[in-house]
């Protein structure tokens, strides 16, 4: 089986890329466009056990466009690594040979899609999608690189206290479109909550003010279900950063097909579903608890006394979600921004420009001081 997959244009032989605007494969050289379905047959080998040679299944001849020659099998493993690399250096590293130019592509164990550093052709590491590693779903990129750059500019521009440099495109160190591996948890929650609540009324007579407080025990129970609560399955990605660009809309997800990865980076998961489930459960519990707490109304103070939340009908799916990552540096520190390439939600902490900070503090402080002074004076004069 081929280690690397390339999508060659049947018309000119150039490497095809997935175009977010068209939601189709497009050849950057001859502008030919191909529907995703036409390339589905390429992934048939993913469903088979690794190593078995698979001829096309019955369905394959139904894709006439798939006549492009499959890449020849190659032994891409650099098995005699010892001659070139010390064993320590190769730990966590894999070397592939580009099908187009023969250049060496160095990736780590989780790299699942990248581009050849020599010829720029997009390649997909098939080995990282085989068998249990094959994602169930993928949300294709909807927003392109330009949209990500524009979003960064807007993001920095709208923040008056950020250094001006950040809205400058030239300042970007790196911008990459990544398919991030996510675990999606579906679950139903049975919720039983008990609250202590109080209600009070006040009145007064000639000598005293009275406050009467009534206490109640309040129970609320029921169920609710969740679909596709995501948990980042890549240890390379900062979990908080990845949660910040949520939500993703799973209803736009399509069955996985490697062709969507062409032109982008992709990682396979290295955090298992078992390791991620805790965070997902925590989020589900919290929302379930809040939802049912909102049902307690008509009281002045409500305090949660005890809570029991049982999750059932749980199901896990493996998906790739599209993310634009932008890196930039300022005064020796690195700043990372992320954009949800489905919804366009853009996040990333910006540093404070000290000069701007003092400028605005003195400006607003001065205005406030003048107003306060005037108010005191006016109030006394009137």
């Amino acid at each position: 089986m081929a280690e690397l997959m390339e999508y060659k244009c049947p018309a000119c032989g150039g490497a095809l890329e997935f175009d977010p605007k068209l939601q189709k494969m497009k050849c950057p050289y001859c502008d030919s466009v191909f529907a995703m379905e036409e390339l589905a047959g390429k992934d048939e080998q993913l469903n088979t056990a690794e190593g078995t040679v698979q001829t096309g299944p019955d369905g394959e001849p139904m894709n006439p466009e798939d006549a492009a020659p499959l890449p020849e099998d190659q032994l891409n493993w650099n098995t005699d690594a010892g001659s070139a690399w010390d064993s320590g250096e190769t730990a966590g590293m894999k070397v592939y040979v580009c099908n187009s130019c023969g250049g060496e592509i160095v990736g780590d164990e989780t790299t699942a899609a990248t581009s050849c550093p020599f010829c720029g052709n997009p390649v997909v590491m098939m080995g990282n999608f085989t068998g249990a590693l094959k994602p169930d779903l993928v949300i294709p990129f909807k927003l392109d690189k330009k949209a990500a750059k524009d979003a960064l500019r807007m993001h920095a521009k709208s923040k008056k206290m950020a250094p001006k440099l950040f809205s400058d495109e030239q300042h970007l160190d790196e911008i990459k479109g990544i398919y991030v591996p996510y675990w999606l948890f579906d679950s139903s929650a049975d919720v039983q909550l008990r609250f202590r609540a109080t209600r009070s009324r006040a009145w007064a007579d000639r000598n005293y003010n009275y406050v009467e407080t009534e206490e109640f025990l309040v129970d609320r129970g029921g169920s609710m279900s969740f679909e596709a609560v995501p948990a980042d399955g890549s240890s390379k990605m900062d979990d908080t950063l990845m949660e910040s660009i949520e939500p993703f809309d799973v209803s736009e997800a399509v069955p996985f097909q490697t062709a969507y990865l062409a032109g982008y980076l992709a990682d396979k998961y290295d955090v298992t579903a078992e390791q991620s489930v805790e965070r997902a459960n925590e989020r589900i519990r919290k929302t379930a608890e809040m939802t049912f707490a909102e049902q307690v109304q008509g009281y002045e103070s409500v305090r949660l006394d005890s809570s029991s939340i049982q999750l059932r009908d749980s199901r896990v799916r493996y998906a790739l979600y599209p993310v634009w990552l932008l890196n930039t540096s300022w005064k020796g520190s690195k700043y990372t921004f992320a954009m949800n390439a489905q919804t366009g939600k853009f996040v990333g902490d910006l540093p404070v420009d000290k000069g701007a900070y003092w400028k605005y503090l003195l400006l607003y402080g001065g205005i406030f001081a003048a107003v306060v002074y005037l108010l005191i004076t006016l109030f006394q004069m009137m």
Binding site: Y208, N209, S223, M224, T287, Q295, A369, A370
Partner: protein
């Protein structure tokens, strides 16, 4: 025997007081100097500063705002609890203070040995300077008497002139004198404290928009829950019970309302003129 002696002594004492009261010798001054520093509390330059301030206020509002200090009232034959009031009234009346047909004006008396202060008012000043105005605004919180207690006489007199001007301006602008139930406070003369206070408050106030702008810089936050992924209409409430478990009542005494009245209390001085005023110890 003892009883008779005691009664006799009492009568004698009473007579002495009455006699002295009648024979009190009024402090006479040349012309109507707005500042007469009989106790010698001020240096020459301080005196001229205070005087020019008093002069200013007096001319601006057409009433006399005067100050008189004595080392001891007993020297002049004034004794007893009303000594300072009588002394100030007489000083005002017999030296020809006061302007206009009502002879409007006020005088602040400082008696060093007795450590008494008194402000005597006459004519329109009786209305302008209410009991509350004198005792509370000038006396309690006017930085006047506290300065006298600390020995800062020049500052005390200067503040007295300021407070007097503030109360005069207050009546002019509001059409009624400043009293305990007034809605507004008089406008203080320019004070560095107010400028400093405004600047500090302003800077603190400025921190609000600035820190909000600063907080906008942070956009990386984890998700608290999973609300975006809850299936629509999947919430099913199967049980909802509210049990009443107890009641308790707490009570606190009400604050009693203030019942004192305002205005100016008026008495008649030895010359037969009506005076207002107030004072105390410093």
């Amino acid at each position: 025997m003892k009883k008779i002696l005691f009664s006799l002594l009492t009568v004698c004492a009473l007579l002495t007081v009455l006699a002295v009261g009648v024979h009190a010798e009024v402090l006479r001054v040349e012309g109507t100097p707005l500042l007469y520093d009989g106790a010698g509390l001020l240096s020459e330059s301080e005196a001229s500063q205070v005087l020019s301030k008093l002069q200013n206020v007096s001319d601006k509002y057409g009433i006399d705002v005067a100050v008189v200090t004595v080392s001891s009232m007993s020297e002049y034959g004034y004794y007893g609890s009303s000594a300072s009031m009588n002394f100030a009234d007489d000083y005002f009346d017999y030296n020809g203070f006061g302007r206009g047909s009502e002879r409007s004006g006020l005088v602040l008396l400082l008696a060093m040995e007795e450590r008494d202060w008194w402000i005597s008012t006459r004519g329109s000043a009786i209305r302008t300077f209410t009991d509350y105005g004198i005792n509370d605004y000038i006396g309690e919180r006017g930085d006047v008497i506290s300065n006298f207690s600390d020995g800062n006489y020049a500052a005390g007199f200067s503040n007295y002139a300021d407070r007097a001007e503030e109360l005069l301006r207050y009546e002019q602008q509001n059409g009624m004198p400043y009293d305990y139930d007034s809605d507004r406070e008089p406008v203080k003369a320019f004070s560095p404290l107010r400028v400093l206070g405004s600047a500090l408050t302003g800077l603190l106030g400025g921190l609000i928009p600035v820190s909000s702008m600063k907080s906008q810089l942070k956009s990386v936050r984890g998700q608290g829950g999973a609300r975006s992924y809850a299936r629509q209409d999947s919430v099913a409430i199967t049980s909802a019970n509210d049990w009443f478990i107890g009641r308790h009542v707490s009570r606190t005494p009400r604050e009693t309302e203030r019942s004192s009245g305002g205005g100016s209390s008026i008495h008649v001085s030895s010359s037969g003129a009506s005076h207002g005023g107030g004072g105390g110890k410093f």
